[in-house]
C-alpha cells in the first residue's frame, strides 16, 4: 500500500518552556538519565536477588540439554585438568621441579579459569545481551557482576573436584584450607571489577571479544599456571623488573595464594613478597575502579 502524504498539519506547538514547567511542577524526572553513584549502588543492591537468580539460571541452563546434566559441572574442569597434566606433566615433564605437581597444576588451572571465564563473559556482558538491556530497566552493572558470580559458582563445583584430587594425591586436610575463603572473595572482587571494565569496552567496540582469547592466553602463560614463578625468580639472569612484574601479576597472586592455602608442600617462601597486600590492592583497585568506570557510561549501554 503506497500512500502519498501531504505535509501533516502542524501540531499545536506549546509555548517554549511550557511543558518543561509542567513537568517540573509535578516533579517528573528526565527519562533515561544516569543516576548518581550512591543511588546506583542502592539500585544495584535492590536487584541483588536478580543478580544471583540470573547467575544460577545461566549455570543450570548450561547443561540442561546434556544427558549427564549437572554432572558436567564437575566433569568439565576434571577433563580440563587431565589435558594439561598430559601435556605439561607427562609430555614436557615440567613436574620434575615442583613437589606435588598434579595438585599444583590443577589448583592453578581452576583458579585461572575463574578469572579467564569471568573476563570473557564480562566482555560480552552488554554486547551479548542487548535484547535484555533494551527491554528492561535495571542497573547494567548487574550483568557483568552476575556473570562473575556464575563463574564463582562454577568454581565452587570445581573446588569439590579439587578436594577429591588433593586427597587422592595425599595432600592432608589442614586448617590453612580456610584461607581459600578470603582468597576467593578477593579474587571475585578483582574479577568482577575487570569484567565491568571489559563490559564497557566491549559494549562500545564488540570487536574486543575477538581479541580477548589471545590476550588471555598470553596472560595465562605468564601467570605460572603450569610452572612455578618462584623457580624462575631464583634465576639471576632475569632482570629485576621482569621478576617483580611476574610476581605482582594479579592472576599469579591469586593462584599462589590458593596453592599456599591448599597444598602443604607449597611453602610461604614460595609466595611473592607482600602477597596479601597485593591481593587486597588488586581487588580494591579493580573492584572500585571498574565499578566507577562502568557507571560513568551507564546511560549509553544498549544504544546506537
Amino acid at each position: 500500500m503506497s500512500q502519498v502524504l501531504d505535509t501533516p498539519p502542524p501540531t499545536r506547538a506549546p509555548a517554549d518552556g511550557d511543558l518543561a514547567a509542567l513537568a517540573a511542577r509535578h516533579g517528573l524526572s528526565v527519562s533515561g538519565a544516569r543516576p548518581s553513584l550512591p543511588q546506583y549502588v542502592r539500585q544495584l543492591w535492590a536487584r541483588r536477588h536478580f543478580i544471583s537468580a540470573f547467575a544460577t539460571a545461566k549455570l543450570t541452563a548450561q547443561y540442561s540439554q546434556a544427558k549427564l546434566g549437572q554432572v558436567w559441572q564437575v566433569m568439565t574442569p576434571l577433563l580440563n585438568a587431565a589435558v594439561y597434566y598430559f601435556i605439561f606433566g607427562v609430555l614436557l615433564g615440567t613436574k620434575q621441579n615442583v613437589a606435588d605437581y598434579v595438585p599444583f597444576l590443577v589448583t592453578g588451572i581452576f583458579v585461572w579459569t575463574f578469572t579467564q571465564s569471568s573476563i570473557m563473559a564480562g566482555t560480552r556482558a552488554i554486547s551479548g545481551n542487548l535484547g535484555l538491556v533494551r527491554a528492561l530497566h535495571f542497573p547494567r552493572a548487574a550483568l557483568p557482576i552476575s556473570f562473575a558470580l556464575q563463574q564463582l559458582q562454577q568454581l565452587l563445583f570445581s573446588m569439590c573436584a579439587l578436594a577429591v584430587i588433593l586427597l587422592c594425591f595425599g595432600v592432608p586436610v589442614a586448617a590453612s584450607w580456610l584461607l581459600a575463603v578470603p582468597a576467593l572473595v578477593l579474587q571475585f572482587t578483582f574479577n568482577a571489577g575487570v569484567s565491568m571494565i571489559m563490559a564497557r569496552l566491549g559494549a562500545k567496540t564488540p570487536d574486543i571479544a575477538q581479541l580477548m582469547p589471545f590476550v588471555l592466553r598470553t596472560w595465562m602463560y605468564v601467570s605460572g599456571v603450569m610452572w612455578s614463578i618462584d623457580k624462575i625468580a631464583e634465576h639471576d639472569d632475569l632482570p629485576r623488573l621482569v621478576t617483580v612484574l611476574l610476581q605482582i601479576n594479579p592472576a599469579a597472586v591469586y593462584i599462589d595464594l590458593m596453592r599456599f592455602a591448599l597444598i602443604d608442600s607449597f611453602q610461604a617462601h614460595q609466595l611473592p613478597p607482600h602477597v596479601w597486600a597485593a591481593a587486597v590492592g588488586w581487588a580494591l583497585l579493580a573492584g572500585v575502579g571498574g565499578f566507577i568506570y562502568f557507571w560513568k557510561a551507564e546511560e549509553t549501554y544498549g544504544r546506537g
Partner: protein, 268 residues
C-alpha cells in the same frame, strides 16, 4: 488536547522530541572491509563521508499523558511508534527535546530475561526479579500468574522447560509475567496480538485493571479493534510526525480514511 486542569496529574511529558538513528556501514562499500577501515580512519570527519546514515525517526513530537489514561499509538509501518515508546521508556536517547516521566515507565516484555532451557516456574521467578519485584511479591502472585497464563489448563506444563512450549503458550506466559507487576507507566508494543481469542480477552481486561491502579498505559497496535476496546485517546504518528492527538473515535475515523480500510459501521 492537553487540558491543564488542576485535577489531572501528568505522568509523561514529551517536549519537542527528536530521535535520530545512526546506521553504520551504508553508503560507499556497503559494510565492506575498506568501508569499515575508512570509517575508523575518518572518524572525525563528516558522518556522511564516513558512510554513516542518519534516520530521523521521530520529529518534534510533544504530548502530555495523564494518570489513568490509556493511549493508543497508531500509524503505518515505520512511522516511529515503537521508537517513541522506547524513548519514553528511557531505552533510546533523544536527539533534542526532553521526555519527563513520573517514576520509571516500563516496556511490557520480559522475553529477553527468560531462558528456554529453564522450567516455566523458574522463569516466572527470573522474569519477576528482572522487572524488579522481590521474591516475596513473586511468591504472592505466583499462582495468579500461572492461572492467568492458562499454562496449566492442559496439564502440569509449568514444571517443564519453556523450550517444550508451543509459541502461543510461551507468549501467554510472557505476557502474564510482564503484566504481574504494577507499573506507573506501562508501554505495550503489539502484545495483544498473541494467544487465542479467550486469552486476548483476558489480556484486555488485565490492561484495564492495570489502568485502574492509577497508571498510564500506552498501546502500540495495528489492530484497530483492540485500540478501540482499550484506549480512549489516540496519538497518530506518520513519518515520525504527530499527525493527530485526540479522542479515539475521532482519530480512528481519520486514520481509517487515510489507510483506506474504512468499512462503514463494521463491528467485528
Amino acid at each position: 488536547m492537553a487540558e491543564h486542569t488542576t485535577e489531572k496529574v501528568p505522568t509523561v511529558v514529551a517536549d519537542r522530541v527528536d530521535i535520530v538513528y545512526r546506521v553504520n556501514g551504508t553508503g560507499a562499500g556497503r559494510g565492506s572491509a575498506t568501508a569499515a577501515l575508512n570509517r575508523i580512519l575518518r572518524r572525525g570527519q563528516a558522518e556522511k563521508a564516513a558512510g554513516v546514515r542518519r534516520v530521523h525517526a521521530v520529529k518534534k513530537v510533544s504530548f502530555v499523558a495523564y494518570k489513568g489514561e490509556a493511549i493508543g499509538l497508531i500509524g503505518t509501518n515505520g512511522s516511529g511508534k515503537s521508537t517513541l515508546l522506547k524513548a519514553v521508556a528511557g531505552l533510546l536517547p533523544v536527539e533534542s527535546g526532553h521526555i519527563h516521566t513520573d517514576g520509571q515507565p516500563s516496556l511490557l516484555g520480559v522475553n529477553a530475561a527468560l531462558m528456554n532451557d529453564l522450567t516455566g516456574e523458574r522463569n516466572v521467578y527470573l522474569g519477576g526479579l528482572a522487572m524488579g519485584m522481590s521474591r516475596e511479591q513473586i511468591k504472592e502472585r505466583y499462582q495468579d500468574i500461572v492461572d492467568f497464563s492458562g499454562i496449566n489448563e492442559k496439564g502440569d506444563f509449568i514444571t517443564l522447560p519453556m523450550r517444550t512450549y508451543s509459541s502461543g503458550m510461551a507468549a501467554r506466559l510472557r505476557f502474564s509475567i510482564a503484566a504481574a507487576k504494577d507499573h506507573d507507566v506501562l508501554l505495550i508494543d503489539e502484545a495483544l496480538a498473541t494467544g487465542d481469542r479467550s486469552f486476548q480477552r483476558r489480556s484486555e481486561e488485565r490492561i484495564r485493571e492495570l489502568r485502574k491502579r492509577a497508571g498510564t498505559v500506552f498501546l502500540v497496535s495495528h489492530n484497530n479493534k483492540s485500540i478501540r476496546d482499550t484506549c480512549e485517546r489516540v496519538l497518530w504518528l506518520e513519518r515520525g510526525e504527530l499527525r493527530m492527538d485526540g479522542p479515539t473515535e475521532e482519530v480512528m475515523k481519520e486514520y481509517e480514511a487515510f489507510t483506506g480500510e474504512r468499512k462503514p459501521a463494521a463491528k467485528a
